[in-house]
């Protein structure tokens, strides 16, 4: 009936952070099992197929790209910690990206993986801010951003010490918030530093085959190190005793025990699993969520006249509101991603054109729609989101050129995110309160992933590594 198994470490969730934690622990001889409710790995950065066509869930670009030989950065750190050769990720660099503000994107700041290009753009567009911008960059470079117990400081406050033009200020915050921030309006300066380095001082890259490449590498490392993984097998309860997690009850009713438990599913999501807390009312947290429209095209987007931009962060006025929308979607700002515009090599292009647009969305306004209304809402907002984004791209030769080139479309909403990842409120960047040391109410239950606070694909892997090191490996 109930088969008991014991592990040194049980990991809840086979996303980027759970897999990375698993690799560290398995490599150093811990008996590890990762439990994943879904039938696919990757969590918030997973993949799926429709009619034989492959899609990535979250990956626009991997941030933190540095060229071989550059040392001491997050990418290098995680490659070392996971014993991965950088060639295994086969990262291809972005061509160029842009921040575009104004009704037609009139104020535009281009950036590439070479920071001097961005610096020149800022100085040219905002000459009075040149000195302040350089001082801000120095403040970013000299800030210690990996301390797990630094006191929080408002990023807006720090940035305003150096930048006095609100337009430039918002243009800097826009990409960093979209890539990402769980908090509205502002963020901690520590997080600002991490994101500024990740996007501007380092850069964007993508494997030709997308997120699957990264996940394949992680899975193989984990398997080779002796890690176990159970798919379509979530954890439905954590049994606590004397302040410790004493057993996990799996979806099917089986129980397992473990000396340590690492949970990547989120803080509130984990709390809800802990048996003694099951009766506590769960106040729905205020979350930031998103919709994303995906168009698959029968040609390269550049052939439509859309140019080489890889990512465009857009906002249709001079003031940027990174806030939960009142309506279902806020199409005033967002992110355009054209995965074709990475440099995959002279003789390699993606087989089809891909045009993705992401906008802020309100989970509650989507969550309880009856199915017919939900589908109708998706159709309505698909059109609105793409119409909004097209203002920031060169106009097409004919009005219906995009429709003619479109082979198929897909869209995800906050509801999709919660459905497939279990994260509450469609949250992509977790809750507003982070648990930097990954501690919970139970001594041997730790958090990793978005609610520990390192965000993005690289961040998630580092989160799993850090929490595995800090709570389990360092303690011998």
């Amino acid at each position: 009936m109930n088969t008991r198994s014991h592990y040194d470490v049980a990991i809840i969730g086979a996303g980027m952070s759970g897999l990375a934690a698993g690799i560290r622990l398995a490599h150093f001889g811990k008996k590890v099992c990762i439990f994943e409710r879904h039938n696919a790995v990757g969590g918030l950065n997973s993949f799926y197929s429709i009619a034989g066509r492959k899609f990535d869930v979250g990956l626009h670009a991997m941030t933190n790209f540095v060229r071989p030989g550059v040392k001491g950065t997050p990418l290098g750190k995680l490659l070392r910690q996971l014993r991965i050769d950088r060639d295994e990720f086969a990262l291809c660099e972005q061509k160029q990206s842009r921040i575009a503000f104004g009704p037609r994107g009139e104020v535009s700041l281009r950036f590439t993986n070479d920071f001097t290009a961005f610096e020149s753009e800022v100085v040219a567009a905002f000459p009075a801010q040149a000195d302040g911008f350089r001082k801000l960059v120095t403040a970013v470079r000299t800030f210690d951003d990996v301390s797990l117990d630094a006191a929080p400081v408002s990023a807006r406050e720090v940035v305003r010490r150096h930048i006095s033009d609100p337009l430039l200020e918002d243009m800097l915050f826009c990409p960093l918030m979209y890539y990402g921030s769980a908090t509205e309006h502002d963020m901690e300066f520590g997080q600002f530093v991490i994101m500024f380095k990740a996007l501007f001082l380092e850069g964007f890259a993508r494997p030709f085959e997308g997120v699957r490449v990264v996940l394949r590498v992680l899975l193989e490392k984990f398997r080779a190190a002796g890690g176990e993984r159970r798919m379509k097998c979530g954890v439905r309860e954590i049994i606590a005793h004397a302040g410790r997690a004493s057993a996990l009850v799996l979806d099917g009713g089986d129980e397992i025990t473990a000396d340590h438990v690492i949970s990547s599913i989120g803080a509130a999501e984990t709390d809800r699993l802990v048996a003694e807390q099951a009766h506590a009312p769960t106040k729905a947290p205020r979350t930031l969520s998103f919709v994303e429209t995906i168009s698959i095209l029968n040609r390269q987007p550049a052939e439509l006249g859309w140019g080489n931009d890889t990512i465009i962060f857009f906002n249709d006025s001079s003031r940027f509101d990174y806030v939960q929308p009142i309506e279902q979607v806020d199409p005033r700002s967002g992110v355009i991603c054209i995965p074709n515009n990475f440099d995959y090599g002279a003789d390699r292009v993606l087989p089809e054109g891909i045009f993705r647009v992401t906008c802020l969305a309100n989970y509650d306004r989507w969550a309880r729609q009856p199915e017919n209304d939900y589908q109708a809402d998706k159709v309505r907002w698909f059109a609105e989101v793409q119409r909004s984004a097209r203002r920031f791209l060169p106009p097409l030769a004919h009005d219906d050129a995009l429709a003619v080139a479109t082979v198929t479309t897909d869209m995800f909403t906050p509801r999709t995110i919660t459905k497939f990842t279990g994260h509450f409120g469609g949250a992509i960047y977790g809750a507003t309160v982070k648990h930097r040391q990954g501690r919970t109410s139970l001594d041997n239950l730790y958090l990793c992933g978005t609610d520990q606070g390192f965000l993005g694909i690289i961040g998630a892997m580092l989160s799993g590594i850090s929490m595995a090191n800090y709570h389990i490996l360092q303690k011998g």
Binding site: G29, K71, R80, R83, L473
Partner: protein, 87 residues
């Protein structure tokens, strides 16, 4: 185990932990951190690989003994010998 063999053990571990580092000119008397790009996460891994591969325990209070190859050899050689003695 000789002190030179011990230094090689440490270099082999560093080669696996940090394959992008050039180890051909490492000076044994100079702190490793001053010659190579190694941070506290890397040193933690040296300690853990010593345990994993060789069964050697290095308590946290002794981490500074691993600062240079010479100090590694001074500190670790007796530990290797003690283990060999028990075999």
């Amino acid at each position: 185990m000789t002190k030179d063999e011990c230094k090689q053990v440490v270099l082999d571990i560093i080669a696996d932990i940090a394959p992008d580092e050039d180890l051909s000119n490492v000076k044994p008397e100079v702190r490793l951190r001053d010659q190579l790009q190694l941070d506290s996460m890397d040193f933690l891994d040296i300690v853990m690989e010593l345990r994993k591969r060789h069964g050697i325990e290095v308590p946290e209070k002794d981490y500074q003994q691993l600062a240079s190859l010479d100090s590694c050899a001074e500190y670790l050689t007796p530990k290797f010998d003690a283990l060999a003695g028990k075999g």
